[in-house]
Amino acid sequence: MNTTDVMRSIIAILGKDVRSELRTRYAVNALLMFVVVTLSVILFSLAGETVARSVHAGLLWVVMFFAAMSGLARSFVAEEERGTTLTLQLLATPVSVYIGKLLFNTALTLLLNSFIVLLFLLFIPDFTPAQPGLFWTVVLLGGVAVSSATTIIAAIIARANTKGTLFPVLSFPILLPLLMSGISATKIAMEEQAWTSAWADLQLLGSYIVVVVTASILLFEHVWKD
């Protein structure tokens, strides 16, 4: 099987997920509701008061993390619930399925994170990144890192009976290093510190993505087949 065939297969699976999501709104509705409700709670608790910029970073990551937890598992759980896992197993190689799902989750996460940031800019008092370039780099890398880890975890928990409970429980320890780096780099982007202060965190986020995606490609076949 050559690279072109694999690429065609990946694009077809990604296209299927996008069209399916546009028709069923399985993940998007859950994610949007979660974001709106969480932001409302934050706004009520702040009650118009301004908080330190470093706190903004924490609040932003809390919303981005839990939004990912509430929606990204759908990619594989929906296939399992609809009984289409076997169909995909018979249609394509495990690598094509994994990368197709990863690209879909990454696109969804980046769109969602952009929406969350937009709402923060509009509604949270004094939420203004001092270094927009660094800020958006962290949001981009953080989004890709979250989706790469949650995609393989979603594939694992889709086979379990207690899907809803397992997803955040399994995800938290795996996402912890990226959460710490993401929050730290976002804090630097919110304050007027030098870009170079965030270099170590950006390196960690980049390395995290490479390690998780490589390990997932190697392991996915064992997760995917009974």
């Binding site: 099987m1 297969s9 699976i13 399916s20 289409t84 076997l86 018979l90 087949k225």
Partner: protein, 207 residues
């Protein structure tokens, strides 16, 4: 020339044995039947042959002109129909066909999708999603899913379930045509399916 070799295959879930020591060989041009009581493991054996379930013991090998087909390319050599196989029911029949073709990297213009739908006896102009289809129509679409890529091996699990007499005739015509291209393995207890088979092997639970 294609051969499917099933050698001493056994399967157990946790400690519960499903079947043990099943061996047979199917060659191109043959239609092979697997029969057995409900719960005897016919579907499990078919999934093992399809490569989507790992046997507890034994092996399944595909050989094309004496060369082993790598497991990662098995999905190209197999067409599978079963009552538990689900299609993407938010899409129409034609969209499902185009999706299957797209994932398999097969060019599929509208005329090819229509011809395939006609072949399995489905209307070509229905744009409503598959979830609105009757169970017999879904079964016909599964047949299209199985034969789209003209695989050398067809694995049929209860292929005529939910089908009317016209649908049964379509399935049996597909089985006859497949003799020219490769082989068919059918898991069934239906006498009309068994009548299509050259050889039949019984599977019994715990055997």
């Amino acid at each position: 020339m294609l051969t499917v070799k099933v050698a001493s295959v056994a399967k157990h879930f946790n400690r519960r044995p499903v079947f043990a020591d099943v061996s047979f060989e199917v060659r191109a041009g043959e239609v092979f039947g697997i029969v057995g009581r409900n719960g005897s493991g016919k579907s499990t054996l078919l999934k093992i042959i399809a490569g989507v379930l790992t046997p507890s013991r034994g092996s399944v090998a595909y050989e094309l002109d004496g060369v082993a087909v790598p497991p990662e390319l098995l999905f190209r050599s197999i067409g599978f129909v079963a009552p538990y196989l689900m299609l993407f029911d938010e899409f129409s029949a034609a969209e499902n066909i185009r999706l299957f073709a797209g994932v398999r990297g097969i060019p599929c213009p509208d005329s090819a999708a229509s011809a395939l739908l006609e072949r399995v006896g489905l209307p070509t102009d229905r744009e409503d999603p598959v979830r609105a289809f009757s169970s017999g129509m879904k079964q016909r679409l599964k047949l299209a899913f199985a034969i789209l890529h003209r695989p050398p091996v067809l694995l049929f699990d209860e292929p005529i379930s939910n089908l009317d007499s016209d649908g049964v005739a379509t399935v049996h015509a597909i089985i006859r045509e497949q003799r020219e291209r490769g082989c068919v393995i059918i898991a069934t207890n239906d006498q009309s399916d068994i009548a299509q088979c050259d050889r039949v092997q019984a599977v019994s639970s715990g055997a």
